[in-house]
């Protein structure tokens, strides 16, 4: 497109390398953070990924870290690495917008969200807050109040959502990693469309303290990064795991494990664009994956997640829906109002189905260590495109980009979204799915795929 453009980089800075350089005195945290702030100033007018930039605080934090190093004090593993968060994470002193206009007048957060605190304790420097679908209810990040976030690989296309700003900021090379949230696919969908790695660990694995909720029983915190090593390092820094087995240092060993791999068919390929299916084919061959694998009940699980999201989301916002419905993003408002009208037994049956679907997944994990599936049915749609064609039928983009992600978060499985290695073309992602609590397995398969050069993130061309 003509007009907006991005700063072009031939390589991505690696978070781990940045931290090593800062700790060794080859650069300073202040210099690294200043570079990130410059990239925001240059790129954000084109991308619209950031809704707030904490420049003064970031510089102050970087200088404090440099001073600590100069004084010989120990600093954390992410020393001087800039990061940003979806604007539903509390940041002390700032109102937590959650993508809404309604919350512009909310009281400033009194403290940082738990994950922000952990990252700062690890030495990372918070530089800004990122755009999202209002109240995390959508897959597009075309926000009526704060505008659409643009895809760094094609500025005419959406970044995906609801953590669209988080994915775009990482894909554009502005920050090496970011935080997002995933209720129905809101980390995995934008990771796939923007061509970066995204991790939605098992439900409950990452703290949600200080994160504005959407659907309590489905909400997960998640991470974005441009390579697996960074994703693992950030995961190790924020995870609740206390088993003494961090993942980052073990990627090579994990990749050498023998794994039984199943590629999901049925619901997880239904309606997929031919380009998506063709892109996945080499993976199945390389992994010797079983192709005849069906996760029974996936379509129904997605329906149950749909009902539960509308029901629980509406109850969270019922007071505002009664008092000022016109202040919501119209696309979100209509969905929440409809959800408010659902009777309680609809949520009860959705929860009942969760137990049934969990059993079906358990049966598959008796046979396979890890499953793979496409993340989205298509590449990033164009901004403003409200419908897409699935199986010859025109369906809503906003509601259907997460068709393959919703069933998996419904039962809280850990999923790592990885970008297929296709330089120069619009990104397509895969989901690497493990059994509950098996984050090490999804990292293991991702590491194997990275070794085989089948997954890789590229800077925008």
């Amino acid at each position: 497109m003509n007009g907006p453009s991005l700063h072009r980089a031939s390589t991505f800075p690696n978070a781990w390398r940045i931290a090593q350089d800062v700790k060794a005195g080859r650069t300073t945290a202040r210099s690294v953070v200043s570079d990130a702030l410059q990239r925001i100033a240059f790129d954000n007018p084109s991308l619209n990924a950031f809704t707030a930039v904490f420049a003064d605080q970031a510089i102050a934090d970087a200088e404090a870290l440099d001073a600590a190093l100069a004084a010989g004090r120990l600093v954390g593993p992410l020393a001087g690495v800039p990061f940003a968060v979806k604007n539903l994470f509390d940041v002390a002193g700032h109102a937590t917008l959650a993508g809404s206009k309604i919350r512009q007048d909310a009281a400033p957060a009194s403290q940082d969200a738990d994950l922000v605190t952990r990252l700062k304790a690890a030495g990372a420097i918070l530089v800004g807050a990122l755009n999202m679908d209002e109240f995390a209810y959508g897959f597009v990040t075309e926000n009526a109040h704060y505008g659409a976030t643009r895809n760094p690989h094609d500025l005419d296309r959406i970044a995906g959502g609801s953590s669209g700003g988080s994915a775009a900021a990482v894909a554009a090379g502005i920050v090496p990693f970011s935080l997002g949230s995933d209720t129905n696919g809101s980390v995995r969908v934008p990771a796939a469309l923007c061509g970066v790695y995204g991790l939605k660990p098992s439900w409950g694995r990452l703290s949600l303290a200080g994160v504005f909720p959407f659907v309590n029983s489905l909400d997960h915190a998640g991470l974005f990064a441009r390579n697996l090593e960074d994703l693992a390092n950030v995961y190790d820094a924020v995870s609740r795991e206390s088993d003494g087995h961090p993942i980052a240092g073990r990627l090579e060993e994990l990749a050498s494990r023998k794994m039984r791999v199943g590629m999901l068919k049925g619901w997880f390929t239904q309606g997929a664009a031919p380009e998506v299916l063709e892109a996945l084919a080499p993976l199945a061959d390389a992994l010797n994956a079983d192709l005849d694998v069906e996760l029974e009940g996936a379509e129904t699980a997605r329906s149950a997640a749909f009902c539960l999201s509308a029901y629980e989301g509406a109850r969270l916002h019922l007071d505002d829906l009664r008092r000022r419905a016109e202040a919501f993003d119209p696309a979100v408002r209509d969905r929440l109002l409809a959800g408010a009208l659902l009777p309680d037994d609809i949520a009860a049956q959705a929860n009942a189905y969760r137990r049934v679907f969990r059993i079906a997944a358990n049966r598959l994990f008796d046979r396979y260590d890890v499953l793979i599936a496409p993340t989205t049915p298509c590449v990033a749609p164009r901004i403003g495109e409200s419908t897409m064609v699935v199986d010859g039928e025109s369906v809503s983009v906003r509601k259907n980009l997460g068709a393959y992600t919703q069933p998996l978060s419904f039962i809280g499985l850990p999923v790592l979204a990885a970008p297929l290695n296709r330089p120069g073309r619009l990104p397509i992602g895969i989901q690497i799915i493990g059994n509950e609590g098996c984050e090490n397995i999804v990292f293991a398969l991702a590491a194997k795929l990275e070794q085989l050069s089948l997954v890789k993130a590229y800077p925008p061309q």
Binding site: G297, E299, T300, S303, A304, F306, C307, A310, L318, L321, R322, A325, E326, P330, R333, D334, R335, L337, A338, G339, A340, L341, L342, P343, D345, I346, Q349, A350, A352, Y353, R355, V356, I359, K399
Partner: protein, 71 residues
């Protein structure tokens, strides 16, 4: 609401869904302004279809067998 009688949400015909929405909104003290009604109705129709799928799947199950498999 009279035409709806004792029908549950899942039993309401598409033609009567707006009547259900009005009645239910009044029950929970919610006003759905006229400009929002088409969008709300479209979403409610979709939710009913999703809920029907879940309901049908649960009815098809052999409940004791499912319970027996639970950990």
């Amino acid at each position: 609401m009279s035409r709806l009688g004792q029908k549950s949400f899942l039993q309401i015909d598409e033609a009567d869904l707006f009547m259900y929405a009005e009645g239910r909104a009044a029950e929970i003290d919610l006003i759905i302004a006229a400009p929002f009604q088409p969008g709300v109705l479209e979403n409610l129709t979709a939710l009913q279809a999703h809920a029907l799928r879940v309901s049908a799947a649960l009815q098809d199950l052999d409940a004791p067998a499912v319970e027996a498999r639970l950990p």
